[in-house]
Amino acid sequence: MTVDKLLEVNNLRTSFFTFSGEVQAVRDVSFSLNRGEIIGVVGESGSGKSVTFLSVTRLLSESGKIVGGNILFEGEDVTQMPTLKLRKLRNNQIGMVFQEPMTSLNPTLRVGTQIIERIKAFNKRISNREASKRAEQLLEMVRIPEARKHLNSYPYEMSGGMRQRVMFAMAIACNPKLLIADEPTTALDVTIQKQILKLIGSLRDEINTSIILITHDLGVVAETCERVVVMYGGMIMEEGLVDEIFYETAHQYTVGLKKSIPDVNKVGGTRLFSISGSPPSLIDPPKGCPFTARCDKAMRVCVNHCPPYFQLSPTHRSMCWLLDPEMPSNLAVESVQ
């Protein structure tokens, strides 16, 4: 799609240099994001999903380095940006919301103070009165009742759901073009999760921002996102529109993920499908497809050769040797395990 692209990531490689060696957290990831789009990124812990987006904002810890590829935000390469410009980008264009609403707010400052601090970061000339008015307006936007009163609350006086709303208020303070939400509902109850997901949808409509929703919950993705990226072992396994991922699933990992969620509509009695084994080590990542060791349909070719992406539709691609048109069909059942 050559519509208006907001973010384009090409062949991104990010590694952490630790005592035990180079951890290749992100290995050759490419994707793009259009304006006003909600995209879901799914994967288990250690799949590289969070690191990919920390790379986008260059918020990696000291040991983490982008070792290859580029990240284009509105055509400008983030990886080459000087610090000052980078700060401006983070201040004015990108908002982030993290998983833990308990730890991402300062417990010693009033909520209002923290939001005003954020507003002043990108608008230095705004008066105190105006800033606090804007803060109140932001709290109303994230549907916090009695917004004015809550400006004076401390984070401990609020529940987890409310704190997460405050985080969203801070993230949208600058009317960002991109909002990155890293597991925003994981620590919350289902009823509150529902409210927050609804809020995410309406924020997109109100301020027309693009949203990246990082999660491990396929249910959340199905309800909120338009497009999905499935990550595993630092690579994108499959990417497509939400319907393509759910109804024309092409990668064995996605198939496994889908099957390991219990279906509430089914009457009990059946054994849950589980993917055996655990994710690969990224210090010495497998040469071939990262999912080989846990895949039921793994073939000899999977062990040593990483499959290319097979384009299944203009929007749907997946890396799995089973999709190779030249693959003889009788090979599909041969297993290396």
């Binding site: 288990e44 812990s45 529940s159 987890g160 759901g161 409310m162 109850d189 289902v190 009823t191 509150i192 999760q193 529902k194 409210q195 997901l197 609804k198 491990h216 919950d217 396929l218 249910g219 959340v220 993705v221 199905a222 309800e223 939400v242 319907d243 759910f246 109804y247 496994g256 993920l257 889908k258 390991s260 969620i261 219990p262 279906d263 509430v264 509509n265 009457v267 009990g268 054994r271 849950l272 499908f273 589980s274 993917i275 055996s276 655990s278």
Partner: protein
């Protein structure tokens, strides 16, 4: 009920606080008058939002907390009234699996000493047998006995949870409380642990009380379940029925809030959103505790607290609508 009740909880209450030197401080009514039964060999699921008292209920049930009032009949004996010494043999038969596999294992103990610790406490088993038992317990949870000398940090989250389960199994209990055993694990690992819990149940005839906020998983593993809201049970029913036709407005909202991993269904689903947040157990609303968030609230709900009623066979609801 035709099956014999293994655990019968009657009017169990657990209040915290209430002390204070000059003025009585308010109580936190964490668990306020709940009654239910668990049959032998079945899994009873307990769900509810955080702060609704489900963990407190389970911990009071096995006497980790002393109940404020009420009775808990375990295999015919009221364990709520026993003193510590009399309780000792029952401690052996009741074990617990905890939520956080990172926090519930002592990082400075080897796997062997972690798993053998209950044996040294209960002293019913000679020390010479310990190693064999630990090995057997590890095999049961699908870990190799050669891991015995390792420390917890050498294991992944899923493996640590298995160690926690091995520790619970070592005293040969017949009742295990699983307090959110899978919520800290990845989806693909969750399924492994749940399947293992189920095969252990089949092999050893265990009875589980399974607490979680992941409703789909609770429905999957348990035969009957109870829904809690601010310290009270609002609905108790067979799991399938609870999902097919929930009756209490809170349960309906809760069920509708589960994200469905099916985009077409998700789009077609009608929106029922429970607005607002769970009230504080310091000062719960009068009458029905859900009335502040309920769309079908009536006058009577403000005054009279509804009691659990059997609306259909084995399906109990506490709501004035029924």
């Amino acid at each position: 009920m035709s099956e014999q009740a293994f655990i019968e909880v009657k009017n169990l209450k657990k209040y915290f606080g209430g002390g204070g030197m000059f003025k009585k401080k308010p109580y936190v009514k964490a668990v306020d008058d709940i009654s239910f039964t668990i049959n032998k060999g079945e899994t009873f699921g307990l769900v509810g939002e955080s702060g609704c008292g489900k963990s407190t209920a389970a911990r009071t049930l096995i006497r980790l907390y002393k109940p404020t009032s009420g009775s808990v009949c375990f295999d015919g004996v009221d364990i709520a009234k026993l003193d510590e010494k009399e309780l000792q043999p029952y401690r052996c038969r009741i074990q617990m699996i905890f939520q956080d596999p990172y926090a519930s294992l002592d990082p400075r103990m080897t796997v062997k000493s972690i798993i053998a610790e209950p044996l040294t406490i209960h002293r019913d088993f000679p020390a010479s047998e310990h190693e064999d038992r630990v090995a057997q317990s590890l095999r049961m949870v699908g870990l190799d006995p050669s891991h015995m000398a390792k420390y917890p940090h050498e294991f992944s989250g899923g493996q640590r949870q298995r160690i926690g389960i091995a520790r619970a199994l070592i005293t040969q209990p017949d009742f295990i409380i699983c307090d959110e055993p899978i919520s800290a694990l990845d989806v693909s690992i969750q399924a492994q642990v749940v399947n293992m819990l189920q095969s252990l149940q089949e092999q050893l005839g265990l009875t589980y009380c399974f607490i979680a906020h992941d409703l789909a998983m609770v429905k999957y593993i348990s035969k009957r379940m109870g829904v809690m809201y601010v310290g009270q049970l609002v609905e108790v029913s067979p799991s399938d029925e609870l999902y097919r036709e929930p009756l209490h407005p809170y349960t309906i909202g809760l069920m509708k809030a589960i994200p469905v991993a099916d985009p077409k269904l998700a789009r077609a689903k009608q929106e029922v959103i429970i607005e607002g947040e769970i009230p504080s157990p310091f000062d719960p609303p009068s009458g029905c505790r859900f009335r502040t968030r309920c769309k079908q609230c009536m006058d009577i709900c403000k005054e009279v607290s509804p009691q659990l009623k059997e609306v259909k066979p084995n399906h109990f609801v506490a709501c004035h609508l029924f």
